[in-house]
Every structure is written in C-alpha cells, then in structure tokens.
Symmetry: C2
Subunit: 190 residues, 2 copies
C-alpha cells in the first residue's frame, strides 16, 4: 500500500473511532487519549493527524458540509420559494441518511455545538438551510417549523434503525413536507 | 430560616448549577467537582446532596417527570386517539416551555440519554408519550412523526429565545398538530 493511502486509511479509522466515542460519551467526554485507547495506539499517533478536538471535529463534519453546501447552492438557483424549500428538504434528508450515525450527535450534543459554532462555514450553512425552509411561510412560525424539521428529522433518523433506507426516506420527506406546509411533488410517490 | 428549608434551598442551587454546566459542557463533561467549583463549595458539599451523577440527574429531571406523568395519565383516560394525542401534545409543549433550558440537553446529549435510559420511569414515560402521539396514524409513519414532534419541539423551544411564551406556545402547538395530522381544536385560536 503506498504511504499516502496508508495515512489516509488510518485517518479515516481515527474519524470512525471518534464518531463511535462521541455517540457513547458525548464530544466533551471524549479525549484524543480515549480515541488512541480505542484503536490501541498512543495519543501521539492521534496527534499526528489531529492537533486538537476542534481540528478532529472539523474533519468529522467535512463530508457532511460538502454534501449540504451542494444542496443549498443548487436550491438557491431555483425560481420559487416552494421549489427552493423542496430541494433543500430532499437534500437535507439524503444528507441525514448518509450520516445517520453522526447527525443526532451534532444536533443535540452541546460540546459538538460549541465546537461547530466556532466554525464559520457550519454556522453560515445552517443559517442558509434554515432560511430556505423557513421561507415557505415568512415569519416566526415558518422559522420555528424549519427548526423543528432540521432537528426533528435528524433525531428521528438516528432513532428508527428498524426501517430500511427507502421507507425511512419516504416517511422523513412526508413528515418534513407536512410540517413545512409543502405540497407533495407530482413526480414522487404519494 | 429553618434547617430543612435551608437544606432544600441549597439543594435547588446545586440543581440549577448542574443544568447550567450541562448546557455548557454536556453531562459527561460535567463532574460533581465542577458543580462545587461553580458554587464555591467543596466536592464533599455536593456529595452531601447527591452521591453520584446518576442521583443528580434523577433529581434534575424529577419535576419534569411529575408534570409529564400527569399529562400522560390524563390523556390515557380520553375516548378517541385524536383527543389523547391532542392532550399529550399540549401537555408536552407546556412541559417543554416550563423546562426550556433543560429539554434540549436531555433530548440530544448522549451522556444524559445514557443516564436516563437506566431510569426505568423515564423510559416508560417516553414510550407512553410516543405511543399516544403515534396512534393518530398507526404504522411506522406515525411513529416517525411522533419522534420528530418530541425531539423537534424540544430543540426548537431551546433555540427561539426571542419569542414570548404565548407566541412560542402557539407556534409549537400549530407545528406539532400539523406534523401529527391533528385538527386544530375549535376552542383554541387558529
């Protein structure tokens, strides 16, 4: 295996271990030492990849940010508020399902929120996503419904492990549309 | 001040400090020592009231459990699934608003969830509440919508600090009813 590939492979192992430990002990309760212990390596080996918990957190959420940024950028080009919200909702549900293990942690863990708030890219992305969903009904009611959809869908996806991907995706989209007041698009199954 | 009242007063101070620290550092990231430091007392003084984080957590959620148990018990006596869900939703929203600072922590913090799961009363209460809301539409769709309402409303109430109690209550109830598929009752404002 070439050196670069080996390094990137172990980097991913560190990220996977971090997510497992975050889910078990929360972000604040997880140290770089614990990640080393989980993988049977020294804390120095973890430090080689991530100098701080902040840097580790940024690496954990990077793929999710890439996917959501693409969604928000594409939604913003559409003509009507309903079309923009529909595109943002669908992209958000697909992101939630891709990162099913991670989202409930990011959503509710105050330690994760603290680290994420200090990341301007994440704050900007959340604000843009909320605004796209909230615009279906301007005013505080629309904003509250956008908050409910973003946190509620992320938590529900983390809880309902017995449903397969297709069924869960359909139920999350149905519930999200209903909460926001979006019509079911003609192209999707009712 | 009588001795009993003084003791109960400082017990409440410990609980308030614990909630502030949970919100800042997560449950796993908060030690009994940190609660002592926050109040300028020794760890032994904290131990006098709570022998473990588990005992502290049970005391933190006790008033919330009393309020939700009363709601669920009263809802269960009603005749139709819609009336039971409407009563459970209203009682849940009022509980969320009473414990606005606490609910987002309980909802999303894995450390809090871990401590709560080991409390059979809390598990039973959550299951009964979810079942009452999910029964509006039997099947996985109804259960997912119940999960979205419970976690989404709790998170949204923790986020929208600029709205007054009456407006927030109305928006949360409206969104909850819409997500679950409940009609707005004739007695409440549209």
């Amino acid at each position: 295996m070439p050196a670069a590939e080996k390094t990137s492979g172990s980097r991913q192992r560190f990220l996977d271990a971090a997510v497992r430990l975050f889910a078990r002990h929360s972000v604040a309760g997880t140290s770089l030492q614990m990640i080393g212990d989980e993988l049977g390596v020294t804390k120095a080996a973890v430090h080689h990849h991530f100098r701080s918990r902040q840097e580790l957190m940024a690496a954990v959420v990077a793929p999710l940010c890439v996917q959501l940024t693409a969604t928000v950028d594409a939604a913003a080009t559409l003509r009507t508020a309903h079309a923009r919200a529909e595109h943002a909702l669908t992209g958000f549900v697909d992101t939630v399902l891709t990162h099913r293990q991670l989202l409930p942690i990011l959503n509710g863990d105050p330690g994760a929120r603290e680290l994420l708030i200090s990341n301007p890219q994440v704050g900007d992305l959340t604000a843009r996503l909320t605004a796209l969903l909230a615009a279906v009904e301007p005013g505080p009611g629309g904003r509250i419904r956008a908050d409910i959809v973003l946190s509620g869908l992320a938590c529900a996806a983390g809880q309902n492990h017995d449903l397969d991907h297709t069924a869960l995706r359909r139920h999350l989209l149905d519930a999200g549309r209903r909460t926001l007041g979006l019509r079911t698009p003609r192209t999707s199954t009712p």
